[in-house]
Symmetry: C2
Subunit: 615 residues, 2 copies
């Protein structure tokens, strides 16, 4: 790792293409002449049109950005908002966070960004796994994949300390993600990071995701927005990351970093949600909680409580896992202390799935009326293998049930259609693979829970109104993680806002969305928000870690400013793509149909909702 | 027919419901106190939620409006722009034109309007047939269908001089339109007007249209925008119009009307396009013309000329029809002097189809590479029977061919999929029934010729740039009839504008779109535009007819103002529905892919395109 002064610097770079290697240089001059230290991390561009690779120093305007802030900045700067998301002008950007690769707890995530084929707007999705840490150690701050090959050939990308090699690929085509991991591990060893798509991404389905190998050789995902189809449209089946020869990520002030990291980790473990609830029961702890408050959408959003909630609860899952010798706690990425993932085994004690999330369990359980954790777990594993977003896909199945494609409660039907239809891209598979909105449109239904064509997850916006504001206003299409109002609406974290009233919801969602955009830029897991909202030392420690890592002097205000700027960049992209304030709203049926047990509809005045962007 | 002074008037109305009849009154007061005469024509509201019918006098604000101007005004005033197009808040409006029901040549058309389930924006579609004249004679100026029944029952509406009766319907459910006409003719006689949907509309498919019985018991259609799905969402299989006891439409100045009508009819017959070209060869005369200028999109818009154009040309069609004892000329509505329709028979001389249009022949012929008029004619008849838009459906088939659903050139495959898949709403049928954009999205394609999700017809915007401006900017989604720039780009009617240059195209399209919005409000066929553009007496005669019919003093400026106002009302609705300037554009592939023989791409600057709305 080289350190450079920015007052006047020439950074050499190397370009590796199929035809060979060439070098160049970038000249930096610092505006106010003050020297400031920064890492010589790289941006790698892979152009699939001519199959060239270009390694650049991070441009000055992108310094100090990471994760979502960086992917959204790059996409907004370089992707024409009106381009076809599966055409040559879209770009898929991977970016590590400001704390990626450091010893900080829960810093193992990274972001992927592009114009989404599902929403038509800007998309950032982040995931755990091992690739983020490896990319950081290789000084790869961002990997930009652009262009599009002509012809039918598929490719794999190999990232290593020597750059990126683009190789034609045949062996893994058509394979599920688990088989891809197996083949590539055999090919290049257990330590490589793997980013891949399954058959759904190859078939450019809107429900497809991008998988990342986790520390146990299982899968995590860039789940939402159909990014698998974007990688598929570039004809890339996988990206491997080989960390051989990489050094550890440098820290400007190791002692200060260590001190802050310890405080940070302690706050994660001290908070009851991150340190106990999630750690013990995983995110499925929310089944009973949401059922209790009447916010658990049931039978395609026609009710708010599910009679069989006990059969699919986190508590039941925990008991089942322990009884069958699975793992009730499990980390999705190196350095995670929350460990909300788990390993779920079948009755014979054989591995079925991990990363078994509340949203999936809710969607197939309560919303599709399948009170059977084993069937849901099997579907979860299958979805990982096919490479489909487990939220979009499962919410879609409830709409498919309402369309009469299969009956409510038909768990076997779901498994069969995943395997035989989505997996094999039959005509029915193409319909289901189009996602929730597509099924609704093709069957002429009106009860179709999507915003900006992306499925609404797990929390009914009529009885938990803060999350409704997030669904309606986020740049991402319906996404609970964009501004998780459940914290103050339901969990009494970071304050209390009555979930049934409109008052205070816009402000709550706005503050959370700003904070989330900032957190998503660090490489930290969003679940740090629980202690960050309740324990003052937590956020201070995060800022101290960033400063100690980069040798800078960020303040809390700077972090808020970063969050705001990121949201506004995303919003500007969406507006230029034709996604305006008229699309910042929930589907009409939430206004027309009241939901039990509180007998409430969605009644947030449009003007109040649109005041979200007043910042 | 009663005439009323508007200075201060109370109009009595009658409400007919299942429960009985009630009466009421509407009080009018004229703003400036001047008395003005108007017809006491009626607006009938049918509310399908409570199955009530309300007959109202035409509100003051709607006086002087007809056809498209009236449907768009009503939809904009009463339909929430963000409502679900298939939900209870959408309304389907039928409106007769300012000259409907009069003896004027080619005045047999009427308009249907709603929020479109295909485009998500406002929609006006107009059709011939016999119902328009019957509605006018019954003084029904507009029929507004609103609300939505709960439950599974379907209904038929019977319009007569006694009002509207809503009756539960079972016999015709699932039937194609031809069988519906047969059953209803048996039930109520040959003279009734019939408006109906086929299986596609019942299944709420986005490609579905609404059919209207023509003078020969065959079908014409409100083709575009999926209006059949809107009628289907109201659970209405058909509307019959019984003209028994109706009087003829009154004329304020019969002598002046007769004089103007004679001049008007003469101009129609004098102009070479309307009087000879269309009259002899139908619209299919355009096959060879567009092929010649390189604007005949071929093989899903990958070329501009079709080697087998002779096999599908209007000239070949004419010879075939004559040889087989069909009718080379045929009228779609009473009083048509152009008679561009025809009756196409098979080799045995048996009826196959009528209203066999250039766009259908182009799409299945050149664009799907099926050089077989017999197969295309069979598909045309089938589409009428199923009740699907023959433009959306046939353009979709070329995209389906590119998706690999069936091979290019597979005419038998098209027929089979129409009959077995679209007709029976199989999963594949649901995909195809979603239209061109849906197929493109589900199969992850980029060469998908749609604007605002509606298929681009028959004229390549790269080599005929004026029509590209219309496709991009019209409020209706891609629609050649919205501003038929072919006139001056290709046919040298109304001036000459070089089709390959950007200069002058926006102005051409703007003028044509304004004129078209006005013509679409009269109940006249759009083909009157040919003489109207070239023969000064034509437009003057149209205005004279309107004035003589209504006893008013419209000028040419008033007509232009009506067209402008109509466009702006539609535009405002679209903006409020979230369809902004970013959607006033062609798909990206037209910019990225040049087309033979002129080797031209679409390169209209965005700013120039968006200047369309500067009026």
């Amino acid at each position: 790792m080289t350190r450079l002064s920015l007052s006047a610097v020439i950074v050499a770079f190397t370009v590796t293409t199929d035809e060979g290697v060439r070098t160049g240089a970038v000249v930096f001059s610092h505006e106010d002449g003050e020297a400031e230290e920064f890492d010589m991390s790289k941006v790698i561009r892979v152009n699939m049109t001519d199959r060239s690779v270009c390694v650049e120093a991070v441009p000055e305007g992108w310094l100090g950005l990471g994760g979502r802030a960086l992917t959204s900045t790059i996409v907004a700067a370089e992707v024409p908002p009106t381009c076809h998301p599966l055409g040559p002008n879209n770009k898929l950007v991977f970016a590590t966070g400001l704390l990626s690769g450091t010893p900080a707890a829960n810093s193992g995530r990274f972001s992927a960004g592009a114009k989404s084929p599902l929403t038509g707007g800007i998309k950032e999705s982040n995931a755990g796994g091992t690739a983020s840490r490896l990319l950081s150690r290789l000084d790869v701050h961002a990997l930009i994949i652009e262009g599009q090959p002509k012809g039918d050939s598929w490719f794999g990308l190999r990232v290593s300390k020597d750059g990126v090699v683009i190789e034609e690929e045949t062996e893994t085509l058509g394979m599920g993600n688990f088989a891809v991991v197996e083949v590539l591990t055999r090919r290049w060893g257990e330590d490589i990071g793997i980013i891949s798509i399954g058959p759904a991404g190859e078939n450019r389905m809107a429900i497809s995701n991008i998988s990342v190998k986790d520390p146990n050789g299982k899968l995590r995902s860039f789940g939402r927005g159909g990014l698998g189809a974007v990688l598929g449209s570039k004809k890339i089946k996988f990206i491997t990351v080989d960390g051989t020869g990489a050094s550890s990520v440098p820290l400007a002030d190791p002692a200060a970093f260590k001190k802050a990291a310890q405080i940070f980790a302690k706050t994660l473990l001290d908070h009851p949600v991150s340190g106990k609830g999630l750690r013990t029961y995983g995110t499925a702890i929310l089944v009973n909680i949401l059922n209790e408050v009447g916010g658990l959408p049931t039978r395609n959003f026609t009710g708010g409580q599910y009679e069989d909630h006990d059969k699919i609860s986190g508590e039941t899952m925990y008991d089942t896992i322990v009884e069958r010798g699975g793992q009730p706690t499990h980390r999705c990425s190196p350095g995670c202390v929350i460990q909300c993932s788990q390993v779920y085994n079948d009755k014979e004690g054989k591995y079925v799935t991990s990363g078994f999330e509340y949203e999936t369990i809710w969607a197939l359980g309560a919303n599709c009326c399948i009170p059977d954790l084993d069937a849901i777990a099997e579907a979860d594993g299958l979805m990982d293998d096919l490479g489909v977003d487990s939220i979009e896909t499962t919410v879609m199945f409830a709409v498919a049930m309402e369309a009469g494609i299969l009956p409510f409660g038909d768990g076997k039907g779901v498994l069969r259609m995943l395997r035989e239809d989505i997996g094999k891209a039959t005509p029915l598979g193409r319909i289901l693979g189009g996602g929730t909105g597509a099924v609704g449109r093709l069957y002429g239904l009106t009860r179709v829970p999507v915003v900006k064509n992306q499925a609404i997850p797990a929390y009914d916006p009529r009885s938990v109104k803060g999350i409704g504001v997030t669904y309606a206003t986020t740049t991402q299409g319906a996404d609970h993680t964009a501004g998780y109002a459940i914290v103050s609406n339901v969990l009494n974290v970071g304050g209390v806002v009555d979930p049934l009233k409109n008052e205070g919801q816009v402000e709550l969602s706005r503050n959370l969305q700003i904070a989330t955009a900032a957190i998503d830029s660090t490489g930290l897991c969003l679940f740090i928000a629980f202690p960050a909202l309740d324990i003052p030392e937590c956020l201070a420690a995060v800022i101290d870690m960033i400063n100690a890592r980069h040798g800078i002097t960020l303040t809390g205000d700077d972090v808020v400013a970063l969050g705001k700027k990121t949201l506004k960049i995303e919003r500007a992209f969406n507006l230029a793509a034709g996604i305006g304030p008229e699309q910042d709203r929930l589907p009409e049926f939430f206004e027309l149909e009241k939901i039990a047990p509180h007998d409430v509809a969605w009644d947030m005045p449009t003007e109040e909702l649109q005041s979200f962007w007043n910042f």
